[in-house]
């Protein structure tokens, strides 16, 4: 091909940028409408209690093995990594306080949310995407069932309710891992360890973690469902939906973490 002709076929950079911006704002507007529809539908009957409970089981109970393993390892590794630094100052007795603050304020919500984004978010993206391309969502619609309420609202509610519970569980398991590490090295008793843990935590820590986890759960549900529910036709679309659900949810979780930490620190 003539190089001049080839250059003519490449769109100017400003067109590419403007199209990318167009797409970005178009997606933002669509997500806004999607969230708005969720809040509209969530309060209107009929309520799909059975499906919500089923989704809570899928999101919560089925994530327990992975969350347990990750939480425990996080607790042990964080303790083992922190010990040498504190030992340099002869401050290993501060380990329980340091660990509790780190786990409750940051590690437990982040680790749980990131694992849930990978496991639950991708599952939702792929499942709804597959239902979309095989016309199962259309089939629900023509049989006078509201697919948005049945599929989307139930899933978003499930992640919003279950992620905070999973975060509490992760924090507990991580603290147990940390205790085992501290106990084996510093011979600290169970009562002493947890007394220091609770002394170093404030109401604001617990409140901010609960709030953060709820926001993370809502985000994972919205992103997973949005990507799946709006996936394009074909199996490629299903793969893209699952992938986009994970990437976008993880990105948003980090952004939300930064914003919420900044707000909470302003009150501290």
């Amino acid at each position: 091909m003539d190089p001049n002709t080839e250059n003519q076929n490449i769109p100017p950079a400003k067109h590419v940028i403007s199209r990318t911006l167009d797409d970005f704002f178009f997606t933002v507007y669509h997500v806004y409408q999607f969230v708005l529809r969720f809040f509209k539908e969530v309060f209107l009957p009929p309520y799909e209690f059975k499906e919500i409970i089923h989704q809570c089981y899928e999101v919560g109970f089925k994530s327990l093995p992975l969350i347990s393993l990750t939480g425990f390892i996080t607790g042990v590794v964080f303790t083992n990594q922190s010990r040498p630094s504190l030992a340099n100052f002869g401050a290993t007795s501060w380990l329980p306080s340091l660990i509790s603050i780190a786990i409750v304020r940051a590690l437990a919500p982040l680790v749980t949310a990131l694992i849930a984004a990978g496991k639950v978010g991708s599952n939702m993206g792929a499942e709804l995407g597959s239902m979309k391309v095989t016309e199962q969502i259309d089939a629900m619609e023509v049989s006078a069932t509201n697919p948005f309420k049945y599929l989307v609202v139930s899933r978003i509610l499930a992640t919003t309710f279950m992620i905070p519970l999973l975060v509490m569980y992760t924090a507990f398991v991580a603290l147990m891992g940390a205790f085992l590490s501290v106990h084996s090295n510093e011979q600290t008793s169970f009562a002493m360890f947890f007394s220091q843990v609770f002394d170093s935590l404030s109401f604001l820590d617990l409140f901010s973690t609960s709030f953060k986890s709820t926001v993370f759960g809502f985000t994972i549900g919205v992103v997973g469902c949005y990507c799946g529910y709006n996936s394009s036709k074909g199996t490629e679309g299903v793969g893209k939906a699952a992938n986009a659900a994970v990437v976008a949810a993880m990105f948003l979780i980090f952004v939300e973490e930064i914003v919420i930490v900044a707000i909470v620190n302003a009150f501290r």
Partner: protein
């Protein structure tokens, strides 16, 4: 089951379409479609792939919105209905999808129960079971009740898809390519089932197909969609007696294949 001749009351139109237009971007699919479907008849919409046959029935069921024109179903203007009104209308309009669209995470029983439970929330378990068994019996697949869709053949999936729409006792049935991808024997069985459903449930049907055998066996009337409009309507013999070259090439292509 062979189609029985019946008298169609041409004063009783259950679906009335006027000046329907639909485009996807620059691609104009439907260009001013006019159509009446009368109570109790089986109307077959014939046409080549991509001519907008499926788009037409998706507009009738409210899955797609028309760009222009009126679509009146059972006295309701579909495009103007609110969400709840559209839901109520959909209880009366069954839609059988080309790929059956069975819920693949549910058993056959759960697939059939799904629309029923969601639309009649006060039904007792025994009533639900009776309804499920009744429609499964109507499509001749009682033995598959606890199977998953992945365990069924293509023909069985089609039948279960039809049973799932029948469970709501619709007045109108929309079949999207009911014989696509099936072997000739199964096609005959599905054609027979369409006629049986029409006889037993007294439905009015629109059957979208490009299969002339299906059209001949099931259709009381044929409407041929060409270039975004119904070029010709009538009985099978009337349509294919036409001199229109496009109709003749469609006929010749089907039967030489």
């Amino acid at each position: 089951m062979l189609k029985t001749k019946k008298a169609i009351d041409k004063n009783n139109s259950v679906i009335s379409i006027r000046g329907l237009q639909k485009a996807f971007g620059d691609l104009h699919i439907l260009r001013g479609v006019d159509l009446d479907v009368y109570q109790g008849e089986n109307l077959v919409v014939l046409g080549r792939s991509g001519t907008g046959k499926s788009v037409l029935i998706k507009i009738i069921s409210g899955l797609l919105l028309p760009d222009e024109g009126q679509v009146n179903v059972l006295g309701e203007e579909v495009a103007l209905l609110k969400s709840r009104e559209l839901m109520a209308l959909r209880l009366k309009v069954g839609f059988s999808f080309q790929n059956s669209a069975l819920y693949d995470s549910m058993t056959v029983r759960q697939n059939l129960e799904f629309p029923l439970v969601r639309n009649s929330r006060n039904l007792k378990r025994s009533q639900i079971n009776d309804e499920v068994e009744s429609v499964l019996d109507a499509v001749g697949l009682s033995q598959t009740i606890e199977q998953m869709p992945s365990e069924l053949s293509g023909g069985q999936r089609k039948r279960i898809g039809i049973a799932r729409t029948l469970i709501l006792r619709p007045e109108i049935m929309l079949y999207d390519e009911p014989t696509a991808g099936l072997d000739p024997i199964t096609c005959i069985e599905i054609n027979s089932l369409i006629n049986e459903v029409q006889e037993k449930y007294k439905t009015t049907s629109i059957i979208i197909t490009h299969d002339l055998t299906c059209a001949k066996e099931t259709g009381d009337r044929i409407a041929m969609l060409l270039d975004g409009q119904f070029a010709i309507q009538g009985t099978f013999d009337e349509v294919f007696a036409s001199d229109d070259a496009r109709v003749q090439s469609f006929y010749n292509y089907n039967f030489t294949q």
